[in-house]
């Protein structure tokens, strides 16, 4: 770190390198955006699915579960839960959570969703399951 290599050279490489790689990142992101419509199934997003995503968010489901592997690790992956339990199975599970929890076990809250809300949540989860995510997770257990 001595001799010919000066601080101002280091500074120039810093600015040049940062700008170059940031632009490259933007270019890759731009290309990704042109490919996404084929993968993210956006054409299928209905108001019901949008409502389901909102319910997913305002109840902070991500605070216990993962969705496509992102979130908390306290409770199962839900990106593929419709494949695991089926639509009706998922609804029945959410509906049947005891208000006071299950003694000694990790417990999920009783959210008192209406039937329409349950339909919306399942529609959202079904939509997530349909996204082309390079074959993740490795198996149905998530």
């Amino acid at each position: 770190m001595s001799g010919a290599f000066t601080k101002s050279m280091a500074r120039n490489i810093f600015y040049g390198g940062t700008v170059f790689f940031f632009l490259l990142f933007l270019a890759l992101s731009f290309d990704t955006h042109s490919q996404l419509p084929k993968r993210d199934m956006r054409a299928n997003i209905t108001p019901q699915i949008a409502e389901g995503k909102k319910l997913w968010e305002v109840n902070d489901c991500i605070g216990c579960h993962t969705l496509m592997g992102e979130g908390a690790y306290f409770a199962p992956e839900l990106g593929n839960v419709v494949a695991r339990y089926g639509d009706e199975g998922v609804k029945a599970f959410i509906k049947s959570r005891p208000k006071e929890g299950i003694p000694g076990r990790r417990s999920m809250p009783q959210f008192n969703f209406t039937d329409e809300q349950l339909d919306a949540i399942v529609a959202f989860l079904r939509h997530v399951n349909s996204i082309n995510d390079a074959n993740w997770p490795p198996n149905v257990q998530g």
Binding site: F14, T18, L28, D40, R42, K53, E57, D60, T66
Partner: protein, 458 residues
């Protein structure tokens, strides 16, 4: 203290440490809920405790960054802070907003909180780490702008050192990338894509500039090594950070609906991300070995060296462990991720804040360094917290390997909850180690209150 206005850093440091204690208490609640599932249920469900744990962490790190910047910038710029009054005002705004947010999390159901705070106007809530209600997010932006205005003006009217410039770039970047937290499209792939522009480009991008600048500042002060040398290192480190870390974002684009080419871009560039962390370790040890003076604050030097080593272990080694796409296919979203999250956040950002606090706080309290007795306590807390986080990481890594084995790699994969039951032993060990961490933290807090004879002169 060379400049009177540096004193505004003190309340920031005190609040940061207070929130750190809150963060750890909620961490212990979470850890217990992992093994006694209905602990505090339904009063404090896991997701609520987790929001408090992670948001308290982020807010106290930001408090520490602001305090550190307010301390450092006047000394670097060789002039008083542009507006000490503004700095104190934003401190209170920030603290009250943080407190109200936590009260909101703990007292009303999250859906009600969303309803009450205008989430319908602009839906931003309910995403990991970005759970804050809209008014809190707006508050963060206002506080950040006032803060940036204040320190930028100070630098503009004073001396513009390389350390200040790198720090300013990091802090401006922090504010700019936070703006992506307001973008939440219904398309969940786009939502996730840009969520990482806040989360990844923070911790593996602009925050590392802040980290480097803080470390460089403390090393100049404690070792007396020539500024030219230290600043050259700093530029090299932050160059390595950004040329690997920006495209390294791709390691989060493997399995969320984004094109497969990210498996190459993400794996290759993020595999290089440990290099700047390694350089930081070499940097810290090198400067301390070449020191031209014996600074009486031994504890601060220990924290600075510890930051280098632990950031490299937590971010560099534990990051590399699961960053190649074929590995990440199996480890994505498991306890391996949690293990890495803990050691990296602690090793890099907790420790650099504690380095700055350790160096600056005695001076803010009117002495070059604390008494020997106080420093010995602080060093005990350093070892207790650091060794605890190492073991927490090792236990979570063991849990994660078993989880992958049982639930993902097996020919007869077990359901998530069945696998969790089988690895409960490691969660118990993590929880007990967490108690040791808390003891270390309490000793740390106590070290501020033991007096004894002051160390003289610098």
């Amino acid at each position: 203290m060379q400049y009177k206005s540096q004193a505004v850093a003190k309340p920031y440091f005190i609040a940061a440490i207070g929130l750190f204690v809150a963060q750890i208490l909620f961490g212990l609640i979470l850890g217990l809920q992992y093994v006694i599932g209905d602990f505090l249920f339904p009063a404090i469900p896991f997701n609520v405790a987790r929001m408090v744990h992670t948001n308290a962490l982020i807010v106290w790190l930001l408090m520490g960054f602001m305090g550190g910047a307010y301390y450092m910038i006047p000394e670097e710029a060789e002039t008083e802070l542009a507006s000490p009054k503004l700095a104190i005002a934003t401190f209170w705004i920030f603290l009250v907003a943080a407190a109200l947010t936590v009260v909101g999390y703990l007292t009303v159901p999250y859906a009600t909180l969303a309803e009450m705070t205008g989430n319908n106007l602009l839906e931003t809530m309910g995403r990991e780490f970005l759970e804050q209600p809209l008014p809190t997010k707006v508050g963060i932006v206002i506080v950040a702008l006032a803060f940036l205005f204040n320190i930028t003006l100070t630098v503009l009217k004073g001396k513009k050192t390389s350390i200040s410039i790198v720090l300013l770039l990091g802090l401006w970047g922090l504010a700019v990338f936070f703006l992506f937290s307001f973008y939440n499209p219904v398309n969940v792939v786009l939502d996730k894509f840009f969520w990482w522009w806040t989360v990844h480009l923070w911790v593996e991008g602009v925050w590392e500039l802040i980290l480097g600048a803080f470390l460089a500042f403390v090393l100049i002060k404690t070792t007396g090594v020539d500024r030219e040398v230290i600043e050259k290192w700093l530029y090299v480190i932050v160059t390595l950070t950004l040329i690997t870390g920006i495209i390294g974002t791709g390691h989060h684009y493997f399995w969320i609906g984004t094109p497969e080419y990210w498996q190459w871009w993400g794996s290759i560039f993020s595999a290089l991300e440990p290099i700047p962390f390694f350089a930081m370790t070499v940097f810290a040890f090198n400067m301390v070995n070449r020191r031209r003076r014996e600074h009486p604050n031994k504890a601060a030097v220990l924290w600075a060296l510890g930051t280098g080593v632990m950031a490299f272990l937590g971010a560099g080694i534990w990051g590399f462990l699961h960053t190649l796409a074929p590995v990440n296919y199996y480890t994505h979203g498991t306890q391996i991720t949690a293990a890495h999250g803990h050691m990296s956040f602690y090793g890099a950002y907790v420790m650099v804040n504690l380095t700055m606090i350790s160096y600056a706080m005695p001076i803010l309290r009117g002495r070059a360094a604390n008494s020997n007795k106080s420093q010995v306590m602080e060093m005990w807390s350093f070892w207790l917290m650091t060794v605890s986080i190492v073991f927490i990481t090792l236990f979570l890594t063991a849990a994660g390997i078993l989880q992958v084995w049982l639930q993902r790699a097996s020919d007869t994969p077990l359901p998530f909850m069945v696998a969790q039951d089988k690895i409960a032993l490691f969660y118990w060990m993590r929880e007990w180690t967490g108690v040791a961490f808390l003891v270390g933290l309490l000793i740390y807090v106590a070290s501020f209150f033991v007096g004894g004879k002051e160390e003289q002169s610098a």
